[in-house]
Symmetry: C2
Subunit: 245 residues, 2 copies
């Protein structure tokens, strides 16, 4: 079992086994409350409270063994092995606008974004298949398992995706652009069945044809905002306008 | 030198030496552009571009040695040792409102918040002395050295701080509260010489007397927002209202 769990820290192995690792107390509680049926088993040490895992097969491990299989520096002594949910190919769920995450490379950022999507009640999220894996242990930890309650749609080519979304009734493509474009707070139609594309932390966005640049004003003129912060600003602007409610 | 650099990963040693470690290319570039005078020296491997460090003493290290002193898993082969700036005891810098960070425990969150403060042009930030250290290597990395361009004010007791801020002309104390209070987007006086207190990720805010609860609406009903995301929402609400500009 140790060897198997360690193998799941590799993306290829993860998708061959179709299983992933969720570590930590809070993330485990979230996963149990969202989709207990996906949980294969838990591994816990005696320092962890696993009493909430009703009906789940639990393996006890001593601290030494647990630290070997843990992906964290100071573990909380609890991890779950779970099935990776089928990435959805349903295109819409009453989504007022389409959030597209293009090549997000950092698992912490990706996870934070997914957690924020759940906070604001957005159900559908599109992400490029060259992003960091949403089911890597780090993305899961930082998302607190938000990826298990979203419809995540992977895409290969952003322009093909945009074409398909347009067929689904989405219109007007915005791309966040730190160097120019319209002020996001003054863009009246920002959330009207639009497609909003956020780019990679370091390299920005892939070329998206016919897209309208939109920027988040930054009075401090610091080079650019962390992509997770940028998504947060836009999502809560939709909350403020009561588009998401 | 190796031993000395490793010692700086411990808070006590850091403040005895009054020096800290800034690692990575982008963070090093930022530090050099903000306060080159604080940089004591750089350590680089041959894979790193250090040509921008004009006038800085540079030690070359081979990969093996560098990996020993690095605090990252996959290093970029560049780190700076720098003086810790004197924490400011200047109380104001034309600050429209006082941002108070109460016991932030996670260096990634703390760093992201500081980076966001610089993005929006906020100059003064207050933080409790029981927070994670703003000059830890992790906080520095995640802030991209934003802590070197802010006036950071440490405090011991939040109520004493509030009393002192009131003497400086601040009034009305808001505390972010996920469980109730006024909607932040509908709180007209949120930024009028106010004090806004954000709390610890896990335990919320210390008791702050006479404080008004304010909440960030979350249609998705996910338990609570990451504190860095919460601060981001409030700071950009100030940008949207042109309080910060």
């Amino acid at each position: 079992m140790e060897k198997f769990i360690l193998s799941l820290y590799d993306r290829k192995n993860r998708y061959e086994a179709n299983q992933c690792v969720c570590e930590g107390l809070r993330a485990s509680q979230e996963l149990y409350s969202i989709t207990p049926e996906l949980i294969e088993y838990a591994v816990v040490t005696n320092k962890a409270d696993s009493s909430f895992l009703k009906g789940i097969k639990i393996f006890e491990a001593d601290e030494r063994v647990f630290n070997k299989i843990s992906s964290t520096v100071s573990s909380q002594g609890i991890l779950l092995v779970a099935k990776i949910p089928k990435l959805s190919d349903r295109p819409l769920q009453d989504t007022p606008f389409a959030l597209v995450l293009d090549r997000i490379a950092d698992p912490g950022n990706f996870g934070t974004i997914l957690r924020t999507c759940v906070s604001v009640g957005l159900k559908d999220v599109w992400f490029s298949s060259t992003s960091v894996d949403p089911y890597s242990e780090k993305t899961i930890r930082s998302a607190l398992c938000a990826q298990f309650s979203l419809n995540l749609h992977a895409y290969n080519n952003v322009n093909t995706l945009v074409d398909n979304l347009e067929k689904e009734g989405f219109q007007r493509i915005y791309r966040t652009d730190p160097s120019g474009g319209k002020n996001c707070f003054e863009t009246g139609k920002l959330f009207e069945k639009s497609i909003i594309v956020f780019g990679n932390e370091a390299n920005g966005i892939s070329d998206v044809k016919d897209s309208i640049p939109v920027n988040i004003p930054m009075p401090g003129k610091f080079e650019s905002l962390n992509v997770a912060q940028a998504v947060t600003v836009i999502l809560f602007e939709a909350v403020r306008r009561k588009i998401l409610r």
